[in-house]
């Protein structure tokens, strides 16, 4: 009974927060009365027309396509790299300084250079996305691989499970909860870098649509697109959380344990 009302409450809470934020915005806009800050009562109808007309969808689709391709390649590259470096100190010593130096560089800022090499097409954008999302994946996979219990490894070794096989049969599943936390981070910063790269190389995508609206002084439309980006981030994160929970039902979780103990 309590669990149900909690669940209802947790579904309601974000809606309340959004409603409060929109109301504050409305109040501020009515107080300031500037074309740079249109009221929600103007933005929301524009947003409605934008979604209804379908004008935005080709750009939304190209943003999502780049994001998912970039994430996919990032997962395939980052996770094995992280797992191996988590189990092999020699390999970790080799790649850690490279990663540490590369992590703080804003990858979108490399866009102009990458474009010099590879042109202004999708390849350059996806490359930037891959470079960005790989880093948290490598770090979290590495951390997860390091934390694997020795005795779990020994239990596998005893039955002749060799080191490469162990990587898939023991290290990967054991590190999965940590990897999925890295993936969640990767999705969020993936959205950021995808849209940023579209703002720099203005061809297609939500970032391009947003900057075009801004250039033309369509502030209401600009805000409507920003709301679309925010909703996109929220929905991706929400959907991923469902996947993440499904994949880690087995993982010991303090909160789950408490619920089980009190029910």
């Amino acid at each position: 009974m309590r669990a149900r009302s909690d669940r209802f409450g947790s579904a309601l809470a974000p809606l309340v927060v959004v409603a409060v934020l929109l109301a504050l915005w409305q109040a501020a806009a009515l107080a300031i009365r500037s074309s740079y800050l249109p009221p929600m009562t103007e933005i929301l109808p524009v947003l409605g027309r934008l979604l209804w007309s379908g004008d935005l969808y080709p750009d939304l689709a190209s943003t999502l396509a780049r994001l998912f391709v970039g994430l996919g390649i990032g997962l395939v590259l980052g996770i094995p790299l992280g797992l191996v470096s988590g189990r092999s100190p020699a390999f970790a010593n080799f790649i850690t300084p490279i990663l540490a130096a590369f992590y703080p560089v804003p990858k979108a800022a490399l866009m102009p250079i990458v474009m010099l090499w590879f042109g202004a097409g999708d390849f350059s954008k996806i490359l930037i996305i891959v470079l960005t999302v790989s880093l948290p994946l490598v770090y979290h996979a590495q951390q997860g691989a390091r934390a694997v219990d020795d005795k779990m490894i020994w239990s596998a070794q005893a039955v002749g499970c060799g080191s490469l096989r162990r990587l898939f049969r023991v290290v990967l599943p054991s590190a999965l909860p940590e990897i999925l936390i890295g993936t969640r981070v990767a999705i969020v910063i993936g959205v950021i870098v995808t849209i940023t790269s579209e703002m720099i190389v203005r061809q297609t995508g939500l970032g391009n649509y947003l900057f075009t609206a801004l250039d033309m002084g369509q502030f209401t439309l600009t805000y409507a697109v920003i709301l679309v980006v925010a909703a996109l981030g929220f929905l991706l994160d929400w959907a991923f959380e469902i996947v993440r929970r499904r994949l880690t039902v087995w993982a010991p979780d303090r909160l789950d344990a408490d619920v089980a103990a009190t029910s």
Partner: protein, 255 residues
């Protein structure tokens, strides 16, 4: 047959601050089918000795022979059971037990039948599809024992297997282990700091000194088998062994 031939283990301290001897010149032999307990104060290196026999930890000097062959690494002839269970948390009880059989490429149907048999043997029927986090400590250790028995190692290396369990569960698992051992007669090396547990289970008890560990005494336990707890607790020979070994461990006997 396990032959521990003049084995020493030295740990290097952090940041090169010298070396610490953990085990000094250990020599012992364990016959096939023998149940040998190793007792000693905590930190005496008894678990390390077990890990070296398992091939999980390298030794600094000496050698260990299992059936005449020197130990160079882990192998399915030596099955470990750990105090912390070390189950695969993403696998259900049944899938944990299946792991070794899958690694050894036992045909699926056969492996499943064997795993279900083991589930029954360790009294976990109905819990096949539970994840380790859904099981109690005693149940987890039952799964871990079944996981190791599944690939039928000739030697069981048990590292304080019941040390993390409550007294009642420990008693139950001791009896279950004895019942399984009576039937299978595997060689068992059982590390514990419980003197009564060692005397109750073992044919022989090796007593170790505090760190650095040496073997202080090798005490045969001539109690009849199959053992029944009630009879044993009343048996003066059992009581004398517990008292004697307790004194050897340099501490008063807990009553």
């Amino acid at each position: 047959m396990i032959l521990i031939d003049d084995v020493s283990k030295t740990y290097r301290r952090a940041r090169g601050k010298g070396e610490v001897p953990a085990l000094v010149r250990i020599a012992a032999s364990i016959a096939d089918g023998e149940f040998v307990a190793v007792v000693g104060p905590s930190g005496c290196g008894k678990s390390t000795l077990l890990y070296m026999i398992g091939g999980f930890v390298p030794m600094t000097a000496g050698r260990i022979l299992v059936d005449g062959k020197p130990v160079t690494g882990p192998g399915p002839d030596r099955g470990p059971v750990f105090q912390e269970f070390a189950l695969f948390p993403w696998r259900t009880a049944l899938d944990n037990i299946l792991f070794g059989l899958q690694e050894q490429r036992v045909p699926k149907a056969l492996a499943k039948a064997r795993a279900l048999e083991l589930i029954e043997m360790v009294h976990l029927k109905g819990y096949e599809h539970f994840y380790p986090k859904e099981l109690s400590g005693g149940m987890k250790q039952r799964v871990a024992i079944a996981r190791t028995l599944a690939y039928d190692p000739a030697i069981l290396l048990m590292d304080e297997p019941f040390g993390a369990l409550d007294a009642h569960t420990r008693t139950m698992l001791q009896d279950e282990l004895l019942a399984i051992w009576e039937r299978q007669r595997k060689t068992v090396l059982f590390v514990t700091h419980g003197v009564d547990e060692a005397v109750y289970l073992a044919d022989r008890v090796l007593v170790m000194t505090a760190a650095p560990g040496r073997i202080k005494a090798d005490i045969p336990i001539g109690l009849p088998r199959p053992r029944r707890r009630d009879d044993l607790l009343r048996d003066p020979r059992y009581q004398n062994h517990v008292i004697e070994i307790g004194h050897l461990m340099d501490r008063p006997v807990a009553v």
